[in-house]
């Protein structure tokens, strides 16, 4: 099993009446609600938490990309990953990911990921999301009906750029480059492991299966609701005759809160979970799915967006969120059992643990994170022993890595040249 501690970086200062006074947390959210000076503190707090998790035995620490979004303050996940690369040591940097269709030219992603891989000594796990409709279409203006074609082309360019050892010309429809020749290249060969966050489109299932990428379902709906979608993925893995059904072909994001007891978990975390589910997920349904963004095949399959109106407008109480699996919460014992249930039912080897939730303060987040790392994670490690050696979907760091800040003594004119000091 691989556990990644994931931080969405939510803005923790949305007012109590946010839902009543605002139509959406995303796209056209009131700019006045963002306070840059507080932002300074928020970013640094969140970076500290990611670094903290990196020291507790999580396999990875994770970031992702959102735009104009108060629950995801990372328009550039690569900036955050770059900060983490220097302040962490042996933990994987999981960037889930950079929306490759949004970069012009998309070669930028190949370059930045290569930089991250080099700086971190091969610790990058790369993500290539199509991006949500909110990000891709409404915030970044990509034409919905052309988004997937653009994505495909960007992917082809990046893969070729990483694989090629000489400059080549790329004559795409959306990107034309005479000399593709990125410097630097990634450490990991032929390329860093690639995870594809998806929301249930068949094309993305097939894309992952055909390229040996890991499919990640990053939902907030929890594992019980996520089961149908993941089953759809595994059915597809079988249908397309993939060589194996390794659980590492899949990942799942789960909101998790651990306390000493079930009661403590509710007492400590309920208000922050409520903040997240009832304020941060207040997305105007008109931004959920631009027409043309999803393919007809996917809509006909009946896999509708998690942002569909029916889930958006009710206040969700703690008990319901816990019962329906949106949140896995409780004592280490309770959480272990439910996690095991999740892992087996969804058959997922990669877990993205959402543990910084809404406006949760640092000390509570650390408490929950430590309990998970010390009392839950070790009890789940043994699952899927037959795939314990499957390294295809994880990073392969260099054995000898640079130590950040390891400068020699200042230059001293008195010392003879070339003599060790």
């Amino acid at each position: 099993m691989r556990f990644t501690w994931f931080n969405l970086m939510p803005w923790p200062y949305l007012p109590d009446d946010f839902r009543e006074k605002n139509r959406s947390v995303w796209v056209d959210i009131d700019s006045n609600l963002f306070d840059p000076a507080k932002g300074h503190q928020v970013y640094n707090n969140y970076l500290d938490l990611l670094e903290y998790a990196g020291k507790l035995g999580f396999d990875g620490i994770g970031v992702n990309e959102h735009h104009q979004n108060a629950y995801g303050l990372m328009p550039s996940p690569n900036l955050i990953a770059a900060s983490l690369a220097r302040r962490t040591d042996d933990v994987a940097l999981v960037v889930l990911g950079a929306s490759i269709a949004l970069y012009n030219p998309p070669l930028r992603v190949a370059e930045e990921f290569a930089m991250l891989d080099c700086i971190s000594g091969g610790r990058l796990v790369a993500g290539f999301p199509v991006g949500t409709s909110m990000d891709t279409n409404y915030c970044y203006g990509t034409i919905p009906g052309l988004t997937r074609e653009r994505y495909k082309e960007a992917h082809e360019l990046i893969k070729r750029a990483w694989a090629s050892r000489e400059p080549f010309a790329f004559n795409g429809r959306y990107t034309k480059l005479r000399y593709v020749n990125p410097w630097p290249r990634p450490i990991q060969q032929p390329h860093p492991p690639i995870h594809i966050p998806g929301g249930g489109s068949l094309e993305t299932f097939d894309f992952c299966i055909d390229n040996t990428y890991s499919y990640s379902y990053l939902s907030f709906g929890g594992y019980i609701r996520g089961q149908a979608l993941m089953q759809g993925y595994w059915d597809r893995v079988a249908e397309r005759n993939a060589p194996d059904d390794s659980p590492y072909r899949a990942g799942f994001a789960q909101t998790i809160c651990v306390g000493e007891t079930d009661a403590e978990a509710e007492q400590l975390y309920a208000q922050h979970v409520s903040y997240f589910y009832n304020r941060c997920l207040h997305v105007y349904p008109g931004f959920a799915d631009a027409p043309g963004y999803r393919t007809i095949k996917t809509i006909q399959k009946g896999i509708l967006s998690q942002y569909a109106p029916q889930t958006m407008f009710q206040q969700l109480p703690w008990k319901e969120l816990v019962d329906n699996g949106s949140v896995i919460a409780g004592s280490p014992e309770t959480v272990t059992h439910r996690m095991e249930d999740l892992i087996k039912k969804l058959r997922v080897g990669n877990i993205f643990c959402l543990m910084q939730i809404g406006d949760m303060p640092q000390d509570k987040c650390m408490h929950s994170t430590r309990l998970f790392a010390e009392k839950v994670m070790p009890r789940l490690r043994h699952l899927f022993p037959e795939y314990a050696d499957d390294q295809r979907f994880w990073c392969k760091p260099l054995n000898q890595r640079a130590v950040p800040g390891a400068l020699p003594q200042e230059w001293n004119q008195e010392s003879p040249v070339g003599v060790e000091r």
């Binding site: 796209v27 279409n137 409404y138 203006g141 034409i143 919905p144 009906g145 052309l146 074609e149 429809r173 105007y284 349904p285 008109g286 931004f287 799915d289 631009a290 027409p291 043309g292 963004y293 999803r294 393919t295 007809i296 809509i299 006909q300 009946g302 509708l304 109106p309």
Partner: protein, 258 residues
């Protein structure tokens, strides 16, 4: 009107045909032709009407090869060609008006009569056109209809938005139709037409509902300034869907092109 199919180089195209008289090609707006069938029937009393569907609309096949404005413009010229028409009256509503305007600008010697009914295609920062791609169905009527309440009733007639089957069918249709329209209308319904309008040589009739809240009449004046000799007919008590709300007045204005 009869629903038929004509094959272009790329794709079978569905079109309505009916009536007799001078040939007239009518290009529909982003909402499709469903609401315009009555209007087309009336129009067919004076003209030989051809109303092709943009690929992806109605029961027609989508066409992945249509990606940008030039593709749409040339595709529609292909349809005219395959229908065997020479210099038909070219009429278009909203998105269809944008396409018709482009066709007349790109081939000015092939279009002598042009009717643009509340066409899209221009953008003024001080008069932003509302974003139909971010609207839920129930939010549309005030932007489309002069009488929003009657429009809402009409649009929701026989529909139950809570029925998952209906919702799925609605989403599929929306994805096909607005997905196609989005290629020239998303996120801003402007693709450089303003720099080409000067090329139009056709006798041009601009037809606009006085109460158009989607593409407000200030755009009518902009089109009129940009197309030499264009005449403007404002239609009282009509919104953006003037052909539906005031078919007789719209047809009367088109007839002035004869």
């Amino acid at each position: 009107m009869e629903l038929k199919t004509v094959q272009t180089e790329r794709i079978p195209v569905r079109y309505y045909e009916g009536g007799a008289g001078r040939p007239l090609v009518f290009l529909h707006g982003a909402g499709g032709l469903d609401m315009d069938l009555g209007f087309l029937d009336s129009l067919a009393r004076q003209f030989h009407v051809y109303a092709p569907l943009v690929p992806g609309y109605g029961d027609s096949e989508e066409c992945g090869e249509l990606r940008d404005m030039l593709d749409f413009t040339l595709h529609t010229w292909d349809v005219v060609e395959r229908l065997g028409l020479k210099d038909p009256i070219l009429a278009g509503h909203s998105m269809g008006g944008m396409i018709a305007g482009e066709m007349a600008a790109i081939a000015p010697n092939d279009v002598s009569r042009l009717a643009l009914i509340a066409p899209a295609g221009l953008w003024m920062d001080e008069h932003p056109i509302p974003d139909i791609f971010a609207m839920l169905p129930y939010q549309l009527p005030p932007y489309l209809f002069y009488d929003a309440e009657a429009g809402a009733k009409l649009m929701s007639a026989g529909t139950d938005m809570t029925d998952p089957k209906f919702l799925q069918a609605f989403l599929v249709q929306n994805a096909r139709q607005l997905g196609a329209a989005g290629k020239i209308l998303f996120p801003i319904p402007e693709r450089g037409l303003s720099s080409r309008l000067y090329r139009i040589k056709a006798k041009t009739m601009l037809i606009w509902g006085e109460g158009d809240k989607l593409i407000p009449p200030v755009y009518a004046q902009a089109f009129q300034r940009a197309i030499a000799g264009a005449q403007l007919v404002m239609i009282p008590e009509a919104g953006h869907v003037a052909p539906f709300e005031k078919p007789a007045e719209v047809i009367g204005a088109i007839a002035r092109l004869q």
